[in-house]
């Protein structure tokens, strides 16, 4: 039978069907968990950029509860940003952004104070950049530069400078050895901020 002309086609078909079936089953079993991981990563990122909401010691359930109770969903008034209210006033915005990085999509959240000029924090919660190089944009060493950063009034609200260069207000250091990721991330962030600012005017 192995020498029949049709055998390789049928064999390949059967083997592919069997392995695919196992993978589909496996993916279905883990689907809820993967989605939950993605959702919690997003919620934690929002909590981290909104002042006073994130606690490192809090467990996942607590963080989810906090997100549901204290973070307002995006509206037309907030131009697509999540908001945190204190005493009936907006205290801060959490603006999601995403765009093509060097390898794949980079997803993040940028927090902005009620003055719409000062960044509270920036968190990257989804990226597939080069480990140890471009992936460093998700590390606190890079993201912490955005804490209390005042945006510039130019078309680039945030400017990335080469590592080691002196910084002016509104500027941060790019990641060493990750020029392409840094260039793309700078554009993604500035596009999102420009779009948000124009809608908020």
């Amino acid at each position: 039978m192995k020498n029949k002309r049709w055998f390789p086609i049928v064999y390949m078909f059967v083997v592919t069907a069997c392995f695919s079936a196992v993978i589909i089953g496996f993916a279905q079993v883990t689907e809820q968990r993967v989605k939950a991981n993605e959702a919690i990563a997003f919620e934690v990122a929002v909590l981290k950029v909104l002042p006073g909401l994130y606690e490192p010691s809090a467990v996942t359930v607590e963080l989810h509860q906090r997100f549901v109770e204290q973070v307002q969903q995006p509206s037309v008034d907030s131009a697509g940003a999540y908001t945190l209210e204190r005493n009936g006033q907006i205290a801060a915005y959490a603006l999601p952004f995403s765009g093509q990085g060097f390898w794949a999509e980079i997803k993040g959240i940028i927090g902005i104070k009620a003055d719409k000029k000062t960044i509270t924090n920036m968190i990257i919660y989804g990226q597939r950049e080069t480990p140890g190089l471009g992936a460093e944009v998700a590390q606190s060493k890079f993201c912490d530069q955005f804490i209390d950063l005042t945006m510039t009034a130019s078309e680039k609200p945030v400017v990335f400078r080469r590592p080691g260069e002196p910084l002016n207000p509104g500027e941060v250091h790019a990641v060493t050895g990750a020029t392409q990721t840094s260039i793309r991330l700078e554009k993604i962030i500035n596009d999102a901020l420009n779009q948000w600012q124009s809608k908020m005017k």
């Binding site: 392995f19 496996f26 390898w103 480990p131 140890g132």
Partner: protein, 206 residues
């Protein structure tokens, strides 16, 4: 232990090591070795994929037509790699993010296809599993040596923890070690050192 098993272990780890003798799987060697933790996970994924791929190829070898064997081998390898990828996404999403595209690229790792084709395809399942496992271990120990030097010299850390002196102000971090050229330098040094040791042992035994 049977002589054949001993020989397989010795080949995979030393005499026919996939990295410094066969010079296979270099892409991932260069790519993921800038952090030890990433390397550990990558190596674990490769041990799982290579062992089970070799076993599965061996189990199916009697039925697989020769003219489509490489397609079947690729399918089997992709199957195990996707399992690893899904597991990481579900149970260790941070590591899945850290490794980025490299888990998926195990499919194209020459060691996996090389061992499936050279050994799994023509030997019984038991020895194919052992051959796959020890070749993956041989790959892993070399990668871990490279990653250890790169992370300590380039970042001053080991597994993310600060290493005394190398994380202090007295050590000017060798950034080049965590960049692609650093991987080439380290790989060349490791190949040179291990081949020299091997040659010197062979000369002594003559």
């Amino acid at each position: 232990m049977k002589a054949q098993t001993k020989q397989l272990i010795n080949d995979g780890l030393w005499t026919n090591n996939p990295i410094y003798i066969q010079v296979l799987g270099i892409c991932s060697t260069l790519a993921v070795t800038n952090l030890v933790l990433n390397t550990v996970v990558m190596c674990t994924a490769l041990v799982f994929t290579l062992s089970l791929s070799s076993l599965t190829v061996s189990l199916l070898r009697m039925f697989t037509p020769r003219n489509i064997r490489m397609m079947v081998e690729t399918l089997i390898i992709a199957f195990y790699v996707i399992i690893v990828d899904v597991l990481l996404k579900a149970y260790w999403p941070q590591m899945s993010d850290n490794l980025g595209p490299y888990v998926g690229l195990i499919i194209t790792n020459c060691i996996v296809m090389g061992r499936c084709e050279a050994y799994g395809n023509s030997n019984p399942p038991g020895v194919a599993l052992i051959d796959g496992f020890f070749n993956a271990i041989g790959y892993s120990f070399v990668l871990l040596i490279i990653a250890t030097f790169r992370e300590i010299l380039g970042m001053g850390t080991f597994l993310g923890y600060a290493v005394p002196y190398f994380s202090s102000e007295y050590w000017d971090k060798w950034i080049i070690m965590v960049m692609p050229p650093g991987a080439f330098f380290m790989l060349a040094i490791v190949i040179w050192v291990f081949r020299s040791i091997k040659m010197s042992k062979e000369e002594k035994s003559k």
